[in-house]
Symmetry: C2
DNA sequence: GTGAAAGCGCTAACAG
DNA sequence: CTGTTAGCGCTTTCAC
């Protein structure tokens, strides 16, 4: 990467002059037009980009606030980011000190490509949201010294903020049992995620215990999207032998499922009861309104921020974790008792 | 902010030693335990946070890629970020050079609080998404030298990527006219945004031209959310004298409106036809599926990235703008001709 | 009008 | 085991 030194050399001026001109102060300092043009030409030729770190270091009249990075996977779940970000924002606002927040998108299962995590050269602390199982494995074996908090994951090695996912699955299965269902279905996002696996096993295990029939054909994996829900629900309910209740481990999928059922003239909740997961904004206004497992996203975001701040200021050292509990929200698609 | 120098002084060691220890290399360099403890204690006492810029500058074996910042408002529209981010990500991936992307959340109408825009000390170029009208005014009068692209806004002073919002409104009004409606309603997000105002005037003007009746009571302002759509639609349709078609300038609001209509036993599209705006993922799976104005978000994201990159490399100087056209997608809530 | 030089906070190589 | 030193790339003050 070309530095300002090289620009100066090429334009046959001193570094200082080059800096002035490149920062638009040429006229102010009355640098002659030809000189300015030579400098700009050199910059264009060498494709000059100022080094932000150097700029910032030097111009450090402005005190630089500590930086918290939020690693977020660039996958279909990107929908969820809005809600979580709002929580983060509010939590930071409440702190006594200023922080900069920087969102670092990364490709799921490619966390190891993010060198900044090990070099610690971009931020003072980080929150890693929704890592895939592969990413978790990478983290467990890696030696990361930057203060780190995992969101929606648990770990022995790092701090974490999580929700009892297994319990969430159990709650839904118990609800189905109480409602007198015998045959139940399950839609699972085809995403590598411990959280989703736990919700699934909580549900599956409890179904077994309570004698609910969860045939293999009643479990379908689809993309984390309305379309995924539509396709998988269609697959399950197009058979003659169908379940009377359906758990979708994502509200987005549940919305697609509701549509599929509507299309097949199966009425919800009369013929099929449906429960989603997450409590997205839309679920209160779907037709019918969707029963769902509410994730305390804002509270968890808050906890993440506090934890990473404490970690940065060495107030906590050993990995701690906070476990939240989700709540079942019953709406028309599957009323409570 | 305490620097490593002060830590070293307080712990009575040299700066070098302090650096070693604070970076976890104490054991590796066999710094004695008491010394290490003294250093850590000093750091804790002075609440030391390493200066990231300095770290990065120094450890610059890793070449630092130019940084593109994406300014995004922290308001209810945060839902939209997922789709746009995906577009950005893909566009960057296609470039020959590496870039870092950094998302900078900011509070709507508070863009002037973001000093980094004028100091240019955090990124090499920036995209500003969805500024409010107040933010636009600030930008017009400010003297910002960092390469800048406005997304979903137009400007004479800066580069911009936009869609013909006025035309979008016209298209919907024309559709309603063709469908033979006489009385029409309008739901508007109560957000300060030029884009939304233009969509609105395109719709209102064309309604007038084509002789559609858009009474004052048929225009409602609500929050950019399902709830907002629900409330405003309820307000319009609870009267005896109601419109037969409804344009919601946001799919999220449209979803709430669909629910309100369902609740009032007004069938869509038989009694009321509904058209949304944005083409969110959900609109294909609402009940009934929602006709909507498709925003070419991915293409626009792509254009933003290319533009800011060209700006950074001085390939373009004068402000240029690209205008996209939206397309009307007709689904069951309001079929085409 | 332009150049020279100092120094932002930090790390790493080298001494001792 | 710990201290000293030389910059990383940039801006800015002060000379000339």
């Amino acid at each position: 990467m070309a530095s300002i030194k090289e620009i100066a050399a090429l334009a046959k001026v001193s570094q200082g002059t080059a800096s002035l001109v490149l920062n638009g102060k040429g006229d102010q300092f009355r640098i002659s037009a030809p000189t300015q043009e030579r400098i700009f030409a050199a910059a264009r030729e060498l494709d000059y980009r100022p080094n932000i770190s150097a700029k910032r270091l030097r111009s450090s009249g402005e005190t630089v606030a500590p930086i918290i990075a939020l690693f977020w996977t660039m996958d279909p779940r990107s929908q969820l980011i809005g809600r979580y970000l709002n929580g983060i924002q509010k939590a930071i606002h409440r702190l006594d000190r200023e922080y900069e927040i920087l969102i670092q998108p990364y490709v799921g299962s490619q966390l190891q490509a993010e060198k900044s995590l090990v070099t610690g050269t971009r931020f003072n602390g980080a929150i890693i949201a929704l890592p895939t199982e592969e990413d978790e494995r990478y983290l467990e074996q890696a030696d990361i010294k930057v203060p780190l908090v995992l969101y929606q994951r648990s770990s022995d090695k790092y701090c974490s903020v999580n929700v009892d996912n297994y319990l969430s699955g159990q709650k839904v299965a118990n609800l189905f049992a109480k409602r007198g269902h015998r045959k139940v279905g399950l839609l699972v996002p085809d995403i590598s995620s411990t959280a989703i696996r736990l919700r699934m096993s909580g549900f599956v295990d409890t179904c077994r215990e309570r004698g609910l029939l969860l045939k293999e054909e009643y479990i379908q994996y689809g993309s984390f999207s309305e379309l995924g829900g539509y396709q998988t629900a269609s697959a399950i309910f197009s058979r003659a032998d169908r379940p009377s209740a359906l758990f979708c481990i994502s509200d987005q999928m549940a919305v697609g499922a509701l549509y599929a059922l509507h299309e097949m003239n199966l009425s919800v909740p009369e013929q099929v009861e449906v429960v989603g997961h997450d409590d997205d904004a839309v679920s209160e206004f779907s037709i019918p309104p969707l029963s769902t497992v509410h994730l305390p996203v804002e509270e968890m975001a808050h906890a993440c921020v506090n934890m990473v701040v404490d970690l940065m200021s060495h107030k906590i050292a050993a990995p701690v974790s906070r476990l939240f509990e989700s709540t079942l929200i019953t709406r028309k698609s599957c009323e409570g008792e």
